[in-house]
Amino acid sequence: MAISLIRRLIQALFVILAMTVIVFIGVSVIGNPVDILINPDANQAERLRVIAHYGLDQPLWKQYLLFLQGLTHGDFGDSFVYGRPALGLILERLPATLELAISALLIAIVIGLPLGLYAGLYPNRLSSRIIMSGSILGFSLPTFWVGLMLIMVFSVELRWLPTNGRGVTAEFLGAQWSFLTKDGLVHLLLPAFNLALFKTSLILRLTRAGVQEVLPQDYIKFARAKGLPERRIIFVHVLKNLMIPLVTIIGLEFGSLIAFSVVTESIFAWPGMGKLIIDSINLLDRPVIVAYLMMMVLLFVTLNFLIDVCYTLLDPRVRLDARA
């Protein structure tokens, strides 16, 4: 176990290193930040001074090495726009995105799992068919449109919930969180629900498919032959087998919730990382883009690693050692 963990860790480091190259080159070719950063009225001397200040006069490979050197002590460079360390900017916004993503995931699991279980156990009931048709809507309606509709119905027409922002936040572990105050929770509700919609349908359909796959198995029939109560068959025998594919998907989807919450954050003016990255791309704020992308790489690598660990806990047939 320990050896394979170390091996995987080394693999992860190589993945991250490879990504730095791709990200750095990719960002360098999408445009020259100088054109946006520098006042068009500035004279040539001024231009050269700014270019030299950001190290943009160096050849690309040298810029890359300088960037790597910075990385070793956690320095992604200063934002061109804000003039502050890029990493700090992102970490500042992280709690907002994190709480949005976690809320959305919780909503998706709490709604998707039981409904999927129900639809899988009683596939012929009318209610199951309604659930399954509803999940198609959840899949196919575009997030931005649903977000606008939610705002229109719950904020504009009914005036129940606020349209944007995080509301009042409270400090916890050195960061500001919305979910700790009543006002913040009210602000969180709509964007979280909006972000959760797609994932709910995904978990629902996955759960249903899993139930239908597990139910006809001999071991379920044997569990019935033992005279077990139906409750135990469903919540232990069926559910535990379901968790294996579900954990994979939930883990990966959590990463994508964080990485791609851009649309929801934009619609609800939620001051998270998604909004920051969109703004930074528009302004070609290289250090922020690079730092953000690297954070995402790190996030997915970590999640994949955690999923693997969960696997071994859930499925006794899988052992990390057994994998080459």
């Binding site: 006809p216 198995q217 001999d218 071991y219 029939k221 044997f222 569990a223 019935r224 032959a225 033992k226 005279g227 077990l228 109560p229 139906e230 135990r232 232990v236 025998h237 535990k240 087998n241 294996i244 859930l314 499925d315 006794p316 047939r317």
Partner: protein, 322 residues
């Protein structure tokens, strides 16, 4: 002595509307401590008969006619909850494929303890002790350690022993064994069979042994019931039926056993295939494959009794020609 199990005119159907009869007009009785061999080819309805008794038919399968009298109560009329209390407690079942009958993500201990506690409100420790004893009884070495192992850490034969141990946990009156040795090696087969025989004798348990293997039946069973296309075609004691079959199908089965053939001769077989249950010929279902069929066979023969045995044929075989 009244029978432990008496099945009367059992009929089981599949198919939502068409009503495909997988089991038709099946009747037999089984006394305590006796072993009944239920024999037939694949698709003859022998497994469905077993699942009908257990009340574990896959939907849309259902019992549409007949009675299943178990110790005086008709199982077909019991509610789901009443049936659940009986399953595992008084009627247990062992399945065909031991690789599939245990839940892969739960330890053997969990699966045994829950089986104990499904019927007896005992503590986990007591349930664990009983599980360990049951594992020891079926010949699993170091049962205490094995309780915390997962099914994939057992071989096929060992898993089947675990399944048998689970079936025996509550000392049931009846065990339905659905081809429990078919998926196993011959040597393991013998061990499992003698294990079964011993345990059934000790606790006076009745067994329905579903199989297509006549050799097993001749070793193990007291009585035999031969099924073809959902109906019983011959019943009686093992000596009578296997030694002197009356129905041409039974004779065909016996002749198909390789040891009945002589070296160098082509293996004997029953010509043709089992017809699908939705395409049975009118009259005797076997007549399309039967050498002795005549026009009379266009009508379905009744089970005709001859002493303690019965067969469903207008032209019974006289004696097996050795």
């Amino acid at each position: 002595m009244s029978a432990l199990l008496e099945v009367r005119n059992l009929a089981t159907e599949f198919g939502a509307k068409l009503g495909l009869r997988a089991v038709n007009d099946v009747s037999f009785r089984l006394e305590r401590g006796k072993v009944l061999g239920l024999v037939g080819e694949s698709g003859s309805g022998k497994s469905v008969t077993g699942f009908s008794i257990m009340g574990l038919l896959d939907r849309p399968g259902r019992v549409v006619d007949g009675q299943i009298l178990f110790d005086g109560t008709d199982l077909a009329t019991l509610s789901d909850a009443e049936m659940r209390r009986l399953r595992g407690k008084r009627i247990a079942m062992v399945f065909q494929d031991p690789m599939m009958t245990l839940n892969p993500v739960l330890t053997v201990g969990t699966q045994m303890i829950e089986a104990v506690r499904a019927h007896d409100p005992v503590s986990k420790d007591v349930a664990r002790q009983r599980s360990r004893d049951a594992l020891g009884l079926v010949g699993i070495p170091s049962p205490d350690e094995r309780l915390s192992a997962y099914p994939h850490e057992f071989s096929g034969g060992m898993r089947q022993r675990v399944a048998i141990a689970i079936a025996l946990l509550h000392h049931p009156d009846l065990i339905i064994a659905d081809e429990p040795t078919t998926a196993l090696d011959v040597t393991i087969q013998s061990q499992i069979i003698s294990e079964f025989q011993k345990l059934a004798e000790q606790s006076n348990t009745a067994v329905i042994w579903i199989t297509h293997d006549l050799a097993i039946v001749s070793r193990l069973a007291d009585d035999i019931a031969v099924m073809y296309a959902g109906r019983l075609v011959e019943t009686g004691s093992v000596e009578e039926v296997l030694g002197d079959p009356r129905h041409p199908y039974t004779r065909g089965l016996i002749m198909s056993v390789p040891s009945q053939n002589h070296r160098g001769e082509p293996l004997r077989q029953i010509p043709g295939m089992t017809p699908a249950i939705n395409r049975l010929p009118p009259g005797c279902s076997f007549r399309t494959r039967c050498e002795q069929a005549t026009d009379a066979c266009a009508a379905m023969p009744d089970l005709m009794s001859e002493g303690s045995r019965a067969f469903r044929c207008f032209h019974p075989v006289a004696r097996i020609d050795a």
